[in-house]
Subunit: 366 residues, 2 copies
């Protein structure tokens, strides 16, 4: 096989499929990518057995063929070449020659028959969504998935379609994150759980803007994301997800509107006092015009004051600074609104049509 | 004690003295910095017992005083404040209050009597040099100091003044680096060895341009670098340094002029083949118009070709790619010239008036 293409195009395409190369594996073949040249099209494929990625681009193919090559090595060589042109050749014994300008590398490839090809999926069941919208929805919920593999279902995110309503949610023991959008059309009702790892990698390679659409296909065991000339296919997590809507509530006794970055920066400062694996909560004193933030640890203490708009009762309540910060970090808003009931009930940071975050308080002594 | 100043000025000054805070220490007091306010001047001091740094700036001092405070904590709090103003107060029991905007921190300070103050040095013996020149000289030689603490003398750099000639040199088992400048005046002959760690930190805080001068003072056991309103004082390494000039040579059989970045990029690519702790050399084949670079490892092979201007004999010689790259990286030149004798003799990359690098070849089999 032999083809020539622009080096930068090769590098960008490699970077997409690299996301499904496992960091550690007992199967060396999974550290390889398939390079296929057929009819003027180059296709690169990787598969870590849970997640597979495939991307294609046009090139000047002199001789069709297919070969397996170590993905990291190919990536490094292509990135470090300093000419614009790139030439790839493999002979019948899978000896690979990479050429760019006056530099030439020889690597040993492998027969592609040894590679676990991506599963075939029927494409009956799908939705269409903007690439940018999906990327934002993932980034604004992924932080609260659980890392605890003993409760596998919550290491993924819920994707739930009800008519034209599309909801993504994640939760751990302390909080729930929910993002909702209205799709342009209605679809069959669907409820699946997608591994967090697949969504993290997907959000990194989704480059399209708000007007660039993509398809998501669902089957019994897999979800397939298709955009531009790339597909990402992932296994689903089996089992029933928690009823997220039931955890949410519209009742409140206290409603606080606050500048997002002032609040974030103050919480961020409070984390300086939590070194040496202390985990003291931050205490919020909600008064008529101010939020007072207090933290007290072995290292010292902090008292901050932030102007707020308040409706309802005064309230003292404690939280993990980190959990509040996680939400404030991802909301691209000037101000956020918090809804509270009492010092033992969760806070909701929400706008019913688009997002809803629940965080449990930390009970205060005395 | 109480003072007010611009928060950014405080942050910049802290960043200077932080360079002498040890990463690990069994003496917690060395993790502190001295904050002194006297007559409208704030002085910050740190000392890791080998290296001490002190910097001053003007501020609005309401009450003179001196206190010790954990350096990392003070640095983090000042950096994370988001207002421009900064207010520092300490009471008689060393309780410290830091205020900026509507945020307030309370930390516990320590009596400054517990701190090892910087040694006093007589300032008879000095040179004057441009800050930028000294920074460049350090950066262009420091990479070849030895990390081997068993041969302490070569973990530092030689500073040698002979009349108006100022030479800095470092060496390890495989190479020698030498930078020379002419000073504006002549000084007493001096030969001292300065610890690599002190020079690394000094080069990070030397911000001045070519016209900003600084003084270096030498005593029997210390060197003191003074610039702007900062001093850095370091112990010297005792012992006799090697005779560096004797290692250099002006004889050659082959002289090669080559584009620096082309050469660097090719060597950089060759390192991709040296994974899994292999340490294969790169073989240079010097012909009339080209340098051919060959590398051969378990991972694969590379053949590059670069146009050169050559005088003298053809030559095949092998080197560690890394040692050649270290020199090429720091020389800010379009082209470099190499002088060689045979495959068992060192290469010299040099310009007699300003720099001279020696690298030993790796002997080739056969």
């Amino acid at each position: 096989m032999r083809f020539e293409c622009n080096r930068t195009k090769m590098e960008e395409s490699i970077n997409i499929v690299l996301k499904a190369i496992p960091v550690r594996t007992t199967m060396p073949v999974l550290e390889c990518m398939v390079v296929k040249a057929v009819n003027g099209v180059i296709t690169l494929t990787t598969n870590d057995m849970n997640l597979g990625i495939e991307t294609s681009f046009d090139a000047d193919v002199a001789e069709d063929g297919i070969v397996l090559v170590n993905a990291k090595m190919l990536s490094d060589v292509v990135r470090k070449f300093d000419s614009d042109e790139f030439h790839f050749a493999a002979d019948d014994e899978y000896r690979i020659t990479l050429t760019s300008g006056s530099s030439k590398f020889h690597l040993s490839g492998i027969d592609s028959d040894e590679f676990p090809m991506l599963p075939q999926m029927d494409k009956n069941h799908k939705i269409t969504i903007s690439q940018m919208t999906l990327r934002d929805m993932i980034n604004q919920t992924i932080f609260s998935i659980s890392k605890n593999e003993n409760n596998k279902i919550i290491t993924g995110e819920l994707f739930e379609i009800t008519g034209d309503k599309f909801m993504i949610a994640s939760l751990d023991l302390h909080r729930v994150s929910q993002r909702i959008v209205r799709l342009k059309e209605s679809y069959d009702n669907t409820k699946v759980v997608i591994p967090g790892k697949a969504l993290t990698e997907l959000s990194k390679i989704l480059q399209g803007g708000v007007d660039d659409e993509m398809e998501i296909y669902f089957s019994e065991n897999h979800a397939l994301f298709e955009f531009d000339r790339t597909i990402l296919i992932t296994q689903l997590i089996e089992g029933n997800y928690y009823n997220v809507d039931q955890m949410m509530s519209n009742e409140y006794e206290t409603k606080v509107t606050i500048n997002r970055m002032e609040f974030y920066n103050s919480l961020d400062r409070s984390t300086l006092l939590n070194r040496e694996s202390e985990n003291q909560p931050i205490v919020l004193h909600i008064n008529d015009q101010d939020l007072n933030l207090d933290m007290n640890t072995k290292m010292g203490s902090m008292n901050d004051k932030i102007s707020i708009t308040k409706e309802g009762k005064d309230l003292d309540i404690s939280f993990s600074s980190k959990y509040l910060m996680d939400v404030l970090k991802v909301l691209d808003l000037e101000e956020v609104t918090m809804y509270l009931v009492n010092s033992r009930s969760p806070v909701f940071i929400k706008d019913d049509e688009t997002y809803n975050y629940l965080i449990l308080p930390i009970s205060m002594q005395g």
